[in-house]
Amino acid sequence: MAEETRKVAFICSKGNLDMAYPALVMGWAALGNGIDVTLFFTFWGMDMIRKDRVDHLEVPPLANSSMKMSMMGVPGNVGIPNIMGMLPGMTAFATKLMKDKMAKLEVPTVREYLGMLCDAGAKMYACKLSVDMFQLKQEDFIEGVQGIVTAGDFMDMTEGAQIIFI
């Protein structure tokens, strides 16, 4: 009996480094399990697919109540005071820390991950409204982004799919 292929769509709306990964990891897992994957990049999420931004995603420690000193091995729940988090260099520091941890686990960079997803058959689109707002064009996006579509188009193409908003 032929089963209909399961479909899943991820709406990527964030541009911070930490929020870029959920869709990438889950999308890759889905493709590996035979699930059709569509990625829709909107607003800040477009940073993930912009040629000039994808290699420069950051994660700021400022006002990030989840980021604790335990990331650097300090035991307990000691946070990073915001008065420190706002200092120049702190975002770069936190970003480097995260990147090092990812590299240690051999997790690909965002650019590489998107390439893998594309090669494995994931469909990727940018949101027209966001594109207009930021005055971007197709050429500004990395290879693999198939087009710029409207919210209505997205709803049509994800009929029957499970939609995950990130």
Partner: protein
């Protein structure tokens, strides 16, 4: 733990159908599983992937993840997904007589 008969040989499998003892695997079993999994007849390109996975699992103690296959076996992502359509992750491991890969990449 259950058993099933493939190609006239009784092998041990877990709840999800993955073989639990890699030493019980044979090429005939692999070919039979390939048909079951919808991969069809196996070409040298398929065998390259399967043999890599078995060797890698023997060396590291666990089934290789997809990324490990693409980065270490010299098989591109596109080729891997073309050879084993609809979910290479589980299919390759199952056909190779290995457990499910444990990593997320």
């Amino acid at each position: 733990m259950a058993t099933r008969v493939i190609c006239g040989k009784t092998v041990q499998v877990n709840d999800e159908g993955f073989m639990t003892d890699p030493s019980e695997w044979t090429k005939e079993i692999c070919e039979a599983l390939a048909i079951e999994e919808g991969v069809g007849e196996l070409t040298p390109a398929h065998w390259k992937v399967i043999e890599f996975c078995r060797q890698d699992a023997k060396a590291t103690g666990k089934a290789p993840t997809l990324r490990r296959i693409t980065s270490t076996a010299g098989v591109s992502t596109k080729d891997l997904f073309a050879l084993f359509p609809k979910g290479p992750a589980k299919k390759v491991a199952l056909m190779s007589g290995l457990g499910k890969p444990e990593g997320c990449v």
